[in-house]
């Protein structure tokens, strides 16, 4: 079956991103397809490369980036939600004059529009929402 996943909360503060990650991993291990993981609301904060979590805890962003790399996942961060919260790729950082090196999007994530969430709902057999 083809799944899409919506992650609506940021890392650590709520369990939503952890639950979504475990669900996604289990679905892949069962041979299902993940059409897209869409990050909305504070969920966009999962896509920053700047976190430095404690050594004795999980690294939520790295978990997602590694899962994306291993399974060619499409991790999409909503552009409007990302602008409100300060998650930028290089194009956005340049366009808004945030300075060289300011882009903080993590490997494996890309920034795009809300249409990608609607498309995720249309294309997948099931959309599962993880939030607060």
């Amino acid at each position: 079956m083809k799944f899409s996943i919506l992650v609506s909360e940021g890392p650590y503060t709520h369990q939503a991103s952890d639950s979504a990650y475990q669900f996604t991993k289990a679905a892949l291990e069962k041979g299902h397809e993940i059409f897209r993981v869409f990050f909305y609301h504070d969920g966009v904060n999962n896509g920053t490369r700047l976190t430095v979590p404690p050594q004795d805890d999980r690294n939520v962003q790295r978990n997602w980036s590694e899962l994306a790399e291993a399974h060619k996942l499409d991790l999409v961060v909503c552009i409007a939600a990302a602008q409100r919260r300060g998650i930028l790729d290089e194009g956005e950082a340049r366009r808004h004059g945030k300075g060289e090196g300011a882009a903080n999007i993590a490997p494996g994530f890309r920034i795009s529009g809300l249409g990608q969430l609607i498309e995720a709902g249309i294309e997948a057999d099931r959309l599962v929402v993880f939030g607060d």
Binding site: M1, F3, S8, Q15, A16, S19, Q22, F23, K25, A26, A27, E29, K30, H32, D125, R126, L127, V128, V129, F130, G131, D132
Partner: protein
């Protein structure tokens, strides 16, 4: 096609589970995960409510969330079924849609 309702909030703090149960139709399933697993404990008003619903709506809890919170399986309402993440995935596939009660 029946619905898989997903509830992740403690029923002692928020009204999400109560609202969900008020909208679940016969044949639907409810998965309690994250802080919602507390709702599956025996000996509480919520637990009694859950136990009373079992004839029409099937209740599941996510095992890893149950263990994390120190809820022993002996304390779960009878008839509540424990699933793991692969079981969570199966529940999504065997229902027509999932509905998250955030």
């Amino acid at each position: 096609m029946t619905t898989l309702h997903l509830v992740n909030k403690s029923p002692f703090e928020r009204t999400a589970l109560e609202s969900c149960l008020g909208h679940a139709l016969p044949g639907d399933a409810v998965l309690l995960f994250e802080d919602a697993v507390y709702g599956a404990a025996k000996g509480t008003a919520v637990g009694d409510r859950i136990a009373g619903l079992r004839e029409t709506v099937k209740i599941y809890v996510l095992g890893p969330d149950v263990s994390a919170r120190g809820l022993s399986s002996g304390r779960l309402v009878e008839g509540v079924e424990v699933v793991d993440y692969p079981g969570f995935v199966d529940l999504v596939t065997t229902h027509g849609r999932s509905h998250s009660w955030l």
